[in-house]
Symmetry: C2
Subunit: 428 residues, 2 copies
């Protein structure tokens, strides 16, 4: 990730929507915008969330203008009466609101194209904007955003020129508008020194155990080294500031090497690399094919690997064999094995891997069978117990993992796919 910094340029994200305050949706927009600002080297120290309420929008806007130069709103541009972000911004700055007839026509056309006889009257308000603002066209929906260079009110400690940018709350519309218009605008107004960062990703180790190995780097000022944990993985972010791109990259590269000296055993990838993208790349490069026989993960492993475009090159067939009958019929697992050792056993995992390899005629057969819960566990085979099998050439390996008996069904299923993808990655 690379960006250009202007030290005076600070941005702040304001998410608008009562549904956010009620916890009915996750704020993925703030994450997207934050990541994009970071990659442009624009500093952002605060984010706020506020409901669809003009007075409270005024309050957060007022606080944001005191500490930031670029205020990015997301949400509240819809056609319904509770969508009032533009109205609130206009009244805050005591600006005139103008109906843009050209934009009204465009919105009407969008409805005709969708097969409507006329535009729902509610949508008319989406054609109003502050007099001096520019539109940000929304090609995927009817809610256009605005970009507005405006002087803060004189009641402010220091009156300054601020940039107000608004986006609708619908994530794919917002992202499309960001990528196709705003990013070019922001790149133009940002200049200064270079910010460059690289993220190292680890799995199979906890945050503090990993941090302990490299704690001496946490006091470094440039590049900075910061760890953070999420379900099934730990990341270390290394960020350098320098005058040129080359210098920043060199600084990061040196620290990355040092960090990996102590941690390479658990390292799996950089930045945007995911376990599934790495597995996909390896399979493509080595021209190998793979097939899954899943039980407790129920298609999740198949789903994750087919998220990758072009996965039909290396996946021909996957099977979710929930029942013993399916395991027997399709994967040829003898009923005696299922009876004696159970569906959740190293023996069954091995034969599932062997069976799917044969059925699919792939290079690698991989199996998962376990107890994802919440019911179905016993003292001997508790919830969270999962067996994995890997068949390659004439060899079959199995592994047994207990993913914490306190974990939820969704956690166990995710961790099982994480473990599976990491094992396959190592095997390749």
């Amino acid at each position: 990730m690379l960006g250009v910094i202007n030290k005076r340029m600070k941005a702040e994200i304001i998410s608008v929507g009562t549904e956010l305050l009620l916890g009915q949706i996750t704020n993925t927009n703030a994450q997207f915008l934050a990541e994009e600002l970071q990659s442009l080297g624009i500093e952002s120290y605060f984010q706020s969330t506020v409901g669809d309420n003009p007075e409270r929008i005024h309050e957060v806007l007022s606080i944001a203008l005191e500490r930031s130069d670029i205020i990015i709103f997301t949400g509240g541009l819809g056609p319904t009466p509770d969508d009032l972000t533009h109205e609130a911004i206009i009244s805050f700055f005591k600006e005139k609101s103008l109906l843009d007839k050209k934009v009204l026509k465009q919105i009407e056309n969008k409805f005709y194209l969708k097969g409507y006889k006329s535009m729902p009257p509610m949508n008319k308000k989406q054609a109003y904007k502050p007099k001096n603002a520019k539109w940000i066209q929304n090609k995927l929906g009817t809610a256009n955003g605005i970009i507005w260079r405006v002087r803060t009110p004189f009641t402010f400690s220091i009156s300054h020129l601020a940039t107000i940018i608004t986006f609708p709350g619908v994530p794919f519309e917002m992202k499309h508008m960001w990528k196709h218009t705003i990013i070019t605008y922001l790149k133009k107004i940002c200049k200064g020194s270079i910010l460059y960062s690289k993220t190292l990703k680890f799995t199979g180790i906890g945050e503090s155990a990993l941090a302990e190995k490299i704690k001496k780097y946490f006091d470094q000022k440039n590049p900075t080294v910061a760890p953070y944990a999420s379900l099934g993985e730990v990341k270390i972010r290394v960020t350098a500031k320098a005058k040129t791109n080359k210098q920043a990259k060199q600084l990061v590269s040196k620290t990355v090497k040092n960090v990996l000296k102590y941690t390479s055993q658990y390292f799996y990838g950089f930045d945007e690399e995911t376990l599934e993208s790495l597995v996909a790349n390896e399979l493509k490069e080595k021209k190998k094919t793979i097939a899954f026989a899943e039980s407790c993960t129920g298609g999740y492993l198949s789903k994750r690997l087919t998220d990758i475009p072009g996965s039909s090159d290396f996946i021909k067939l996957n099977i979710v064999t929930y029942s013993n009958k399916a395991k027997h019929q399709l994967l040829n697992i003898p009923n005696e094995i299922l009876k004696k050792h159970g569906a959740v056993s190293s023996q069954t995992a091995a034969l599932m891997a062997k069976g799917i390899k044969k059925l699919s005629d792939c290079d690698i057969g991989f199996s998962v069978t376990g107890i994802a819960g919440p019911s179905g566990g016993s003292k001997e085979k508790p919830v969270g117990l999962v067996y994995f099998g890997l068949a390659k050439g004439n060899k079959i390996k199995t592994q047994k993992v207990l993913f914490g008996t306190n974990s939820s069904r969704s956690t166990i299923r995710f961790l099982a796919t994480q473990f599976a993808l990491n094992w396959i990655r190592k095997e390749l």
Copy 2:
């Protein structure tokens, strides 16, 4: 959802973590906490996000204390040097920090139980807390939170007693602590009138088209009616305030009936109900079984339905037949059909559904075959084109849907599973 309101009781969520400002993780914690506060009837008008920086944590804490009574922090309780939420709170209130030896011992024990020889020295700081605060035990990790009734500094416009609550940022730890300790505490201190809300969920219609049908209800003050949209669905939330639970429920129920008069065609469920949970319930109740043959969704449909606990009662076998060979071999689709009409065709979808029904010996065979992109599209069969097949008894039906040629692979895959689950729900 039901809760008890105290009109003076306002809560505010502060998420701490530079990784949030950099957009490296999604803030699911704020959503969880917001939803829980709402269900307790505690009002929450603002959320903030701030980095791991003491001065900026002071700044947001100061703003939050001016407008809210309960300040809930999440994040920054980890063992690494950048985790400093407790330190920042302690310095803000100029309080003493105390090492709790009992808690230190507990943390050490957690490492012994995990097979460590000793606690990493870094974790010692997790045993410090403000002198007069109480611990919130973290049974799933080492980062305990605190609950602290503390008077705001005298520099405040009105000095008042505030409640500071802290949680670690790791979602499953935070949720466990919330459910097992804080929820009881908050219920005790909340009293007043009743808040009750119900969410209606719709699919197959856009936000403004749905809103237009029921716009007359948006001006209602009690209950309020608010719409919001997300990928593949629209929700309408109806919220009433009343003196008793019964009165609030009656108010909501009346408005819900009115709303459904105009929209029932697109309605699928209430509140926590999801398409997958509804399909699962119907299958269980009617003692029916189902099997999927997926192509472009690559296991996503199977994953979604097996997310539901107990899904092994009605799912025995699912197959991802990416290749034509697999479609032919396992589902008995004649090569001539695949050649003549292609894998993405109504004919293939029908035979896939028939084939998986026969192979699995289930009541319903369901198929998905389409072009998820980004490549593989043509003028005749563009990216986003998906065929669905449903075999039940002796009948086979198919449907063709074009999910927008501008959509991403992940959007198309999600919308295809959404359409599939909704069709199956209607069919049941």
